[in-house]
Symmetry: C2
């Protein structure tokens, strides 16, 4: 448990893109959003305005990331749109520079493939959605990819497994930045059965990544 000193809320900047995965974004934001005194949510995209999710619903980005200083916490979601996003050399070059100013770089699901493609996970341990694990690995040959993990925390990088795993990672991050008790209180508030063990991962075996 860390000492929980008063400070200004940390900014959490979500990098949205066409066909992002809904729960990758709104699972974590439900949890950060329960603590408005600690976290300030910013939705960022190439342009301010509507961004379509992989599931169809449209969300409004508050600001263009090109016009926004890097937040304290960068959150990169996954979703089928990542497959296109990693092919943009201009996006990757921008992210590689911009995101380095963050206190913490985080990703959900295939968002770790986006971080990896920008070189931001080189020399770090990381994980990804277990269905897209081989794709993620191909984005970052200098990353130490961990197959069996609900999430991986390595220094200032936090990467989660697929979709719903982002909620477990976010609670662990809240516990690390504030306290285990605060994270548990948030989980109880939203009636979420928090997996606290980062090695809990039945999905690695279900997808044939481990025995």
């Amino acid at each position: 448990m860390t000492i929980d000193e008063p400070r200004a809320p940390r900014s959490v900047g979500v990098v949205l893109f066409d066909r992002f995965e809904l729960l990758d974004v709104f699972g974590p934001l439900e949890l950060f959003g329960a603590l408005p005194d600690r976290f300030e949510i910013l939705l960022l995209a190439e342009n301010a305005g509507p961004v379509r999710s992989a599931q169809g619903p449209i969300v409004v980005a508050d600001r263009s990331y090109g016009d926004t200083a890097c937040p304290d916490v960068v959150l990169v979601p996954g979703g089928i749109g990542t497959r296109t996003l990693v092919q943009s050399r201009s996006f990757g070059a921008w992210l590689a520079t911009w995101a380095l100013r963050a206190e913490l770089l985080t990703s959900i699901c295939t968002g770790s493939g986006v971080l990896a493609a920008a070189g931001l996970l080189d020399g770090y341990r990381a994980t990804c959605n277990k269905r897209a694990f081989h794709w993620a690995r191909a984005q970052g040959p200098r990353v130490e990819w961990i197959a069996r993990a609900r999430w991986v925390h390595d220094r200032d990088r936090w990467t989660s497994a697929g979709v719903a795993a982002g909620m477990d990672m976010t609670l662990a991050l809240i516990a690390r930045l504030h306290s285990e008790e605060l994270a548990a209180a948030v989980a109880d508030r939203v009636e979420y059965d928090w997996h606290r063990d980062p090695t809990w991962d039945p999905f690695a075996a279900k997808n044939g990544l481990v025995d």
Copy 2:
């Protein structure tokens, strides 16, 4: 297990309002959205266009519900905005008529208070978020409120407990409409640890509603 015959996708209409709870909406939509051949998602609100969530992020409603035929599945989320919504007699009168045409009426969290206030749960068993249970009960004195329940399914009404419970209920609903195998495949796809038992509910005791 029901026989899974081909048919047109069911429409799932989400009734949005100012300060709805993010995960109440996007947990279920992540799961319905994984099956676009079975479910078509519609975001509805008083007016088409932006609607602000309780946590801040803004979502775009596809259509005005006043201009939209009742969908196959009506989904009413919760959130702090329900406290204002139930005070609108015109909204309640509209919902009471419109929603009766649905095949299934569903709610997440304090959304059951909205259904109850419109008289749509009279004579039914139902549940709600455990922190707002007394508030929900006050909205529907002719409802049989169940304190210890992850969700309650009674005929054509499905009501879930708080926030994250909506995902467990949605998977149970997919299992009922299609098959248990399909619901399990969706849960695996999003790496979600599905609670299949509707009586699993540690939050009722944590909030002093049961011993």
